[in-house]
């Protein structure tokens, strides 16, 4: 199995499209760092001006922690596309190129092929999230320094001491990995049903966008639907910046996300094991 996973990882590493995600994240993070460096004070004062009428805010508000939090808020929406670019092609790419025939005639079970691709896709996802964490938090702390984190939510403000932020970012990125793993598994599942890569990538994004909209709009009908799609639970990483953290809520969402992974993986295995490879 691990030999197969290493082969799958090698194929991912050698494909140019695998680096689009890293380049895109680096570009966006660099742009936000630059913008915060130049326009940060004006941007932040716009948001906290009401707050300053009631409280005296002292210290370094614009710091690496705040900038990282802002980057996560922005990028977490785009990350599914960057993940699907690679994982949506894992099986359909093999079908399109015809290599699926050779792969499926080797002495490895089809389930092993799927599991190897699933693991490789998830390792890629984790590395992408680690990259995001490293360059947003690492470079952010280098440029802007450390400091307390002020988080403005819709109905409350949370302030975290500088030494209380690192584990929260770690946990948030861990949950982001799990959320994106659902996206990776979902796009891989779609990729098992088709012979072209565009379909799974576009469909994954369409599903993420549609259910994110449904989860955001406060219609009674949508509120009945919204607890079920994985997109609703993908934003649970923000729960790490609640004070105190609602662990029951976080755990429930994590379980829903794991359930989705199991469901999509199960469907992929069942379909691919029965599939006649005719292309």
């Amino acid at each position: 199995m691990w030999s197969l996973v290493s082969i799958e990882l090698y194929k991912i590493i050698r494909r140019p499209r695998s680096y689009i995600g890293f380049a895109a994240i680096a570009a966006i993070v660099a742009a936000i760092h630059l913008a915060m460096y130049i326009d940060g004070p004006g941007y932040v004062s716009f948001f906290i001006q009401q707050l300053e009428q009631s409280f005296s805010i002292q210290g370094k508000i614009i710091n690496g922690n705040l900038v990282t939090w802002l980057i996560l808020q922005t990028l977490i929406v785009q990350m599914p596309l960057l993940v699907a670019l690679v994982t949506g092609d894992l099986l359909s790419g093999e079908s399109a190129s015809g290599t699926i025939r050779l792969l499926a005639t080797k002495p490895v079970s089809r389930s092993t092929i799927i599991m190897a691709k699933f693991l490789a896709g998830n390792i890629y996802t984790v590395v992408l999230v680690v990259w995001l964490g490293l360059i947003s938090l690492g470079v952010g702390l280098l440029i802007f320094g450390n400091g307390d984190l002020i988080v403005l939510n819709s109905n409350h403000i949370s302030i975290f001491r500088a030494d209380d932020t690192m584990w929260r970012f770690g946990a948030a990125l861990l949950i982001a990995c799990l959320s994106l793993s659902v996206v990776a598994t979902f796009s891989s599942m779609l990729s098992a049903y088709t012979d072209n890569s565009i379909g799974p990538i576009v469909t994954t994004m369409a599903v993420v966008i549609i259910f994110t909209i449904i989860g955001t709009m406060e219609f009674p009908l949508f509120e009945k639907i919204s607890p079920f799609p994985f997109t609703t639970h993908m934003v649970i990483w923000r729960g790490m910046f609640d004070d105190p953290v609602d662990w029951r809520h976080v755990t429930a969402s994590v379980m829903v996300l794991i359930g989705h992974i199991a469901l999509f993986l199960g469907i992929t295995l069942a379909h691919f094991n029965r599939k006649d490879i005719l292309n």
Partner: protein, 306 residues
């Protein structure tokens, strides 16, 4: 007496909706055979091969390879098979050498670079080992495909149209390579091809299928000897020969004439009779040759079946 069958197909069928792609097919391939698998387009050759390689699940029937049922012993059986299925497709963004390395590792082997280079030299790709496959021509990919079938040293090699896209020298090279694999390395070859003269030249046994059914199978030389031959005769006097034939029953068996060259479609047993007739008439016979044209045979059988 035949050695043990390497491949046994029993009542093998595959349907896609209403289409019977393969219909109650029975086939035996023996150890050491170069088995020619012939049939017109859409006859069910590729579907049969895909079922033998577990790419397609049979609707009915049994596939046994190396004496073991495929479904129950898939891993063990596929470890001993090398194959090309239709087009030779590879990871275009990787080098030829890396592709071979990956496919060998998928077969449970870790070949040394030296062995990969030897194989690439064997198929005429020396010097292109490090080049990405996307820079290869179709013929080069076909050659790499053949190297890929051999990389894990299999006992049975399944080749589906292995000479497609090759130039004449490439076709000869592949033919010689197949003979080398059989004669020197004692491999069993299952060769599906539409190039009938290729099969005729190298196969020991063959089967022809049409509409998913086996029309005929057996030893190539035996199958060919039981049917009419194209017999060419060259004589000293074409005009005399022409008038002689025109006034005899041989005129109905004459299919071509040009100067002193005459071609008849007759059975093997009729050759000495024809020679005797011509000699008796005082004609000098410079030469007689015959050829069982597999293409005629193939067309005849497939037309009969349809």
């Amino acid at each position: 007496m035949h050695p043990l069958p390497i491949i046994e197909l029993r009542h093998l069928s595959k349907t896609f909706g209403d289409l019977h792609a393969v219909d109650d097919l029975n086939l035996d391939v023996f150890e050491g055979d170069i088995f020619g698998f012939l049939g017109p387009n859409g006859a069910g050759k590729s579907t049969t091969i895909r079922m033998m390689l577990s790419l397609v699940k049979p609707s009915e029937g049994l596939i046994s390879i190396f004496g073991k049922e495929l479904n129950q012993n898939r891993h063990e059986i596929l470890q001993r098979i090398g194959c090309i299925i239709e087009d030779p497709d590879f990871y275009l963004y990787l080098s030829g050498e890396k592709n071979l390395d990956l496919f060998a590792r998928l077969s449970g082997k870790s070949p040394e670079t030296k062995k990969i280079h030897e194989l690439m030299e064997l198929v005429g790709l020396k010097g292109r080992e490090q080049d990405k496959v996307k820079t290869y021509s179709h013929g080069m990919k076909q050659r790499l495909g053949i190297a890929q079938t051999l990389i894990h040293d299999p006992d049975l090699i399944i080749l589906d149209e292995p000479t497609t896209g090759l130039d004449p020298q490439g076709i000869i090279d592949v033919r010689n390579l197949i003979l080398h694999l059989k004669n020197d390395l004692r491999k069993t070859i299952f060769l599906s091809s539409h190039l009938l003269h290729e099969v005729e030249q190298i196969a020991t046994r063959m089967a022809i299928i049409n509409k998913g059914k086996a029309v005929v199978q057996g030893n190539v030389s035996e199958l060919l000897s039981t049917h009419d031959l194209n017999v060419s005769v060259e004589v000293d006097n074409g005009e005399r020969m022409n008038s002689l034939i025109s006034s005899s029953a041989w005129q109905h068996k004459l299919i071509k004439k040009s100067g002193g060259h005459f071609e008849f479609r007759i059975s093997k047993e009729e050759i000495p009779v024809l020679n005797q007739f011509l000699n008796g008439a005082g004609l000098a016979i410079y030469g007689t040759s015959y050829r069982r044209n597999l293409e005629d045979y193939f067309l005849k059988l497939t037309q009969d079946a349809s």
